[in-house]
Assembly symmetry: C2
Homo-oligomer: 325 residues x 2
């Protein structure tokens, strides 16, 4: 929360107070942060007497939809000011909202390299764990009192983008804002139960298939999983259900390199490599035309999942052998 | 943090400042809260120039031992003042520390019905998510500055007792203290990774065996798991590895009643029943001489796990049928 960024948030708030008829856009495959941010901002603007609504997002999951539904704008609503929240790039705009791509007035985001252009004001702060943290500060700049109605979507935003305060993006500010939200009396325990302590049946089913087949190699230093099209068909699992599967192998103690193979509809394979850092995952994936970071990298192979794993495994082993020397 | 409780913490702090030669006791099968509380208090007392050490606890896991080891007292250390942290009852005292059971001077705990007697001062606050929250406040009353050395074990205490801020015991105060701890510069992300993002190989192995055999009954309204002695032998899993397995069935969406059967070495079965609240688990378990709460209850059956599950299932079904009417 340095002064420069707060000053530009104040500028954004001053401008917003002069405007009216807001439409708020969320990103593709909307998560708790984009939805929570949109809902909190929408409520705050309405409390200022503004007309505000959220653009429909047909990709939204049931779990989040019930929080957004009461704020979705009518098809015939007048739109003078378009705001994007948590949308990093034009490619991440959901189809319904793309009609507004050349007339975005406000951009609010926490992604490192936000590519969106704003006609009036843009605020992107990668130090925020969630866009909801920025919305919290913006709402204060707007002079709107934080109450339970606003705190609830903000808590969803913060908690979902940090895996409930477990990921490395969690900061002092995240906990401070969570405390402020809970002080309004929201039932954070019920939200945590809903978002973190419950699992879709489809997700449970595919997870046990995938972990059932997890294989260890080289004394448990390497572990690999496959997510096949058949598993997805048999369980009815969606993309969201397998969202964080790449982290499964590496979470097991002793595993230095986790390989996750996702079979594509055309029979090819997307590989995700997660490492403890000793082996550089980006170098492993570069051997197959991919890239990423040392701890999390990816590549695509035209082979099926089993052959793809064997190919990646061979490269990982040369790097592990180099380490042992 | 009401004034009454804070006043009695202040009284405890005043008394402690007059004393010296402290020995701090942790509870059986020590968790992050008892260990983190003991380490933080030990450091704070030493910063006041006191002699302080923690009683050895042979039941400690490797993961926690490295945080406690530097503070374990020498066998010949003088002991004038004995302090228990997070120890709810004499039965929960670890064998090594039982020699001190009739000469405990200070009792600090957050369990609802703490049964320990203190010669000098006792402070039990069930509103604290972790005993570490009370230690945080006590350290402030002692006039010791919170620094990274003290904040690290306190963060372990808070985060482990709340499942990283996800359980319903998490309060505004929990987040505020977490923020204060992180403000000292501790690497909370590394701690979270160690305690929440990593799984022992033995735990992974038994979890996939257990979830692989999980069965649904009655259109997914009931789910049941068995943890057999064979699974434990085959995987080498400890009590700690299967610690929270009873929550696995109920976490699946649509499951109203989760039944977990733990085969005992003598062939009998301990049953845990978790419910969404519609069915009263304590009533189900009472049919077998057990008890508990509506959402979490338990009982013991002399039958093996499969027969025990069938017996409990029959009772659960009568309650589900009553609901449907």
């Amino acid at each position: 929360m340095n002064k420069t960024t707060d000053r530009s948030l104040a500028t954004m708030a001053r401008q917003m107070k002069k405007d009216d008829h807001f439409l708020i856009l969320t990103h593709r495959r909307p998560d708790g942060d984009t939805v929570g941010s949109a809902v909190a901002l929408c409520i705050a603007l309405r409390k200022l007497g503004k007309h505000a609504g959220i653009c429909p997002n047909p990709e939204i999951q049931d779990r989040l939809e019930r929080y957004m539904k009461p704020y979705v704008s009518a098809p015939d609503a007048r739109v003078d000011n378009v705001v994007t929240v948590d949308v990093p790039s034009y490619g991440q705009m959901e189809a319904t909202s793309k009609v507004y791509s050349d007339r975005i007035d406000y951009v609010i985001d926490h992604h490192l390299a936000n590519q969106m252009a704003a006609r009036k004001a843009k605020f992107a702060d990668p130090s925020a764990a969630a866009t909801g943290e920025i919305i919290f500060r913006l709402i204060a700049e707007l002079g709107v009192q934080l109450d339970a109605e606003i705190a609830l979507p903000l808590y969803i935003s913060l908690s979902t983008d940090t895996g409930c305060f477990v990921y490395s993006n969690t900061t002092v500010q995240t906990h401070e804002i969570a405390a402020a939200c809970m002080r309004t009396g929201i039932d954070a325990a019920a939200l945590n139960k809903e978002f973190f302590e419950s699992k879709r049946r489809q997700r449970f089913e595919i997870e046990r298939l995938v972990t059932g087949d997890l294989r260890f190699f080289d004394d448990g230093k390497i572990a690999a999983i496959s997510v096949t099209q058949k598993m997805r068909r048999d369980t009815g699992a969606t993309e969201d259900d397998i969202d964080d599967f790449s982290s499964i192998p590496r979470k097991i103690e002793g595993v230095l390199v986790g390989i996750s193979a996702y079979e594509q509809p055309d029979g090819s394979t997307k590989i995700s490599v997660r490492t403890s850092g000793e082996v550089d995952g980006s170098v492993v994936c570069a051997a197959f035309g991919g890239g990423g970071h040392a701890c999390a990298a990816g590549c695509s192979l035209k082979e099926g999942p089993e052959d793809a794993i064997q190919a990646v495994l061979a490269v990982v082993r040369t790097h592990l052998a180099a380490l042992a020397q």
